[in-house]
Symmetry: C2
Subunit: 269 residues, 2 copies
């Protein structure tokens, strides 16, 4: 009879074929467009970080940042390392949203992906990175009358359109089937749709939205984050009442905005 040490000495993992494993990251940020009038508040938009593929397959298509899991790291470290290497941004938070494992999803071979949604804090993106081909796309994600989801990503003149169908969730987490993929590589349109669903599910709770903002912020900024993600609009009075539970005052105020200064808040510990 073998003991455990002897067993491990003779155990051969490579008798079985193994997949390559990647982490792909859908990184979201709230961006504010330049104000028109000096005292009007800038518009907030949800945006997503994509990179343009320089090589095959899906050459010249846009894709989520991501790459292969290496020995000795966890899948979360891999996700953080890859987005950093490829786009020079560091997320404030990441969250696993699904596994994408269809055997034919990657023409290079058997490659499965762990998909993460991540949040980039407004204003932490340094310019001048090596990743010239990394760009922020404005996000639109809506359901039409027929129940199909339309994902529209815009950056300057470039528009990527994808159409997805929500999959019956028998035996599994909610997923999306791709009807049209636009110029998005692999199954990344489905990953983005899943990440957006997850983000919207979370954004209703306050805990989840602070990472979009700097350390201190006004309540209006916080409100805009939630409104932008959920694509809704709520009355300031009611938003403040609900938010009060999750924030604490600082002594600081905004200034120079052509209207009453706003107190700055921080997330309650």
């Amino acid at each position: 009879m073998q003991n455990e040490h002897e067993f491990l000495q003779t155990y051969r993992l490579d008798d079985y074929e193994r997949p390559s494993v990647t982490a792909d990251v859908a990184a979201f940020m709230i961006r504010r467009t330049a104000e028109e009038s000096y005292r009007k508040e800038p518009e907030s938009r949800l945006s997503l970080l994509l990179i343009r593929r320089g090589g095959h397959p899906f050459k010249d298509c846009w894709a989520l940042p991501g790459g292969f899991l290496q020995k000795g790291e966890t899948i979360e470290s891999c996700a953080l390392r890859e987005i950093r290497e490829e786009t020079n941004v560091t997320p404030a938070a990441i969250k696993l949203i699904g596994m994408f494992t269809e055997p034919e999803r990657d023409p290079r071979g058997w490659i499965i992906s762990a998909a993460f949604a991540s949040i980039i804090t407004e204003g932490t993106v340094q310019g001048g990175d090596d990743a010239a081909e990394a760009q922020w796309f404005d996000v639109r994600f809506e359901q039409d009358e027929a129940g199909l989801y339309h994902l529209t990503l815009t950056h300057g003149d470039t528009t990527l359109d994808a159409v997805l169908e929500e999959q019956s969730t028998r035996h599994g987490a909610a997923g999306f089937a791709i009807r049209e993929s636009g110029s998005l590589a692999f199954d990344h349109a489905a990953i983005i749709a899943a990440a957006l669903s997850a983000l919207r599910r979370e954004a209703g709770k306050f805990e989840a939205i602070f990472d979009f903002l700097p350390e201190t912020f006004t309540l209006t900024q916080l409100q805009r984050v939630q409104e932008t993600i959920l694509n809704i609009s709520v009355l300031p009075a009611n938003f403040r009442r609900k938010a009060a539970e999750y924030v604490e005052e600082t002594e600081e105020y905004t200034s120079g905005a052509g209207h009453r200064p706003a107190k700055l808040f921080r997330k309650k510990a």
Copy 2:
């Protein structure tokens, strides 16, 4: 310049080392203990399916059913196939709850795991399976004054005790660090804790709990499912008011229970 076809012809995936990938399944069922008095309602308990390991490593420890991802299947099919092969039960639903990828988590080598929570419908377990070493354990999962989580699994004379600490969720989904693992194999105590958290999060919504019950059920049965999972108790009047939205009546009634018959309901389409 290569075209895509030429690229794929010469692409070599095996230049990089790859991990083995497994799916592990935490399968939950509601079991009802034999009634004491002829008209008293039986007690409901949440239970979890474990198998006893016959070989190294962790010989004689208890573990979640699971096994290696094979080429040509998705990770969800793998999870369903493995639990079926090893325990002869078929889940009504499965849901990914996390990736477990610590490099040292398996002494056999580089093996990462996709963890699923699954629901087994009451009464669908056939006896006499080949998996003599698969057993249902009653589940207790509670937080103590110090904030530590205690997981207690009981089957007859066998009791497995694990102590876990909730991990700060910076950079990721809520996770648990194992303080003491009892006789649970690998990091399965942490997987079970994560699955229980996910189950409790979902059980508050009605959508998630129907799979524990057969096609038709009484509202009291439905109430017991929710109460058992969440470890709470609510007033029948209030439960019914909330549940009404998610169920529809049938023409059937229970009988022979020594008290007023209950109408059977089914999940609303």
